[in-house]
Point group: C3
Chain length 158, copies 3
């Protein structure tokens, strides 16, 4: 593989910090994990294997992400549940001069305020990480869920 200005360790640290941000908040920091024209998408493994192009959720730049955060914060007066992400190891699948692409299996546990706990999501992150303005950021993040049924009211990003 060619030399990249981003190391595997840097890409992994970004992903780690991303999941702690989602789990602990504030959600307003979410768009800042992406480049200005960063791409965020939730899809399913089945969709990808069958070539269905329609994602479950799509943000094609940071401004769209800020809109989503605002909508989420307006819609949810109080936080009705907690998320907890667990990451497995990352596998590097592509390297270019300025970006590294990794695959990372994850699960997300959702806990409702009544105390019930649920395995909420399971799948893989496909992340393209590059540097912009001196920071490691996601140029692209595709969340590929193993399950086709998803809570259609997903408000908080995965």
């Amino acid at each position: 593989m060619s030399t990249c200005s981003i190391t595997e360790a840097e890409a992994r640290a970004l992903l780690r910090d991303y999941t702690y941000l989602l789990d602990l908040g504030p959600l307003s920091g979410w768009p800042d994990c992406f480049t200005e024209t960063g791409h965020y998408e939730i899809t399913t493994r089945q969709n990808r294997e069958r070539g269905y192009p329609l994602p479950i959720m799509l943000c094609d730049n940071r401004a769209m992400m800020f809109d989503r955060v605002e909508a989420t914060e307006k819609a949810n007066i109080y936080e009705p549940h907690y998320y907890l992400h667990i990451l497995s190891d990352s596998q590097t699948i592509a390297v270019s001069d300025d970006a590294i692409t990794t695959r990372t299996s994850f699960i997300c546990v959702r806990t409702m305020l009544d105390g019930s706990m649920l395995l909420f999501a399971a799948g893989q992150y496909l992340d393209e990480v590059m540097r912009e303005g001196g920071q490691c950021l996601f140029r692209s993040k595709t969340v590929v869920l193993d399950h086709s049924r998803v809570d259609t009211l997903i408000a908080i990003p995965l």
Copy 2:
């Protein structure tokens, strides 16, 4: 961050070995993961966010931990279940000259002897790690559970 006599890798190795000890035993080794005046606490995220000071379980030094181990061993003639901890990445949240503080998401799966498996606990470890007597040890470990309902008979530490 300032230079610390404990590296992130050392703190992580301690946490890793701690979880294998809990899962495989012997439980009598548990207090030895802490400094003499080490602090161990299980609480919930909700308690912390609301400022409720009362933890679910508290040991304020190693002697209290030994007492708890003894009580557990007397109460449980045979081991009625298995635990399995899975760790996500650790995030360093504070560094001082002699200690490092990390946050680590984890889940714990409990398997009963009848074969049923359950997502038993999910939350974060807040660990303060320092060196004492040449060994990396927990000066403080706070287990912050995402769920408010907890098996009140928790005998084995998390």
Copy 3:
């Protein structure tokens, strides 16, 4: 510990790549993760603790693994579900001149095509890793499940 020609990082990378191979396929690549006379075994923690020698599944060399892959591919016209493995940290438990033995807690989530998700397996990998033909490979992999009840139709290796 003595110096080994296999590093912990190499052993870990093999295990990581192994789990992505199982989750994403092709299954035909599975035997290639093992040495020619590699040993693969699924057993339970209870069996091991009680000294029952009978494993749930056993392949004593790579040829047996190829047979199993073929049988699996014939039996399953289409893939009825997805697997997703999540690994915790590895603990090195033995090192020799030419091999490293590690223990790694894992869970495996199974998702059916109807969208239902299940914590399918939880346990530990005991892996002996060595180099053969210039590649890091499993000389031996023992999957020790925490649960005694296992889907007896396990066709895809864990």
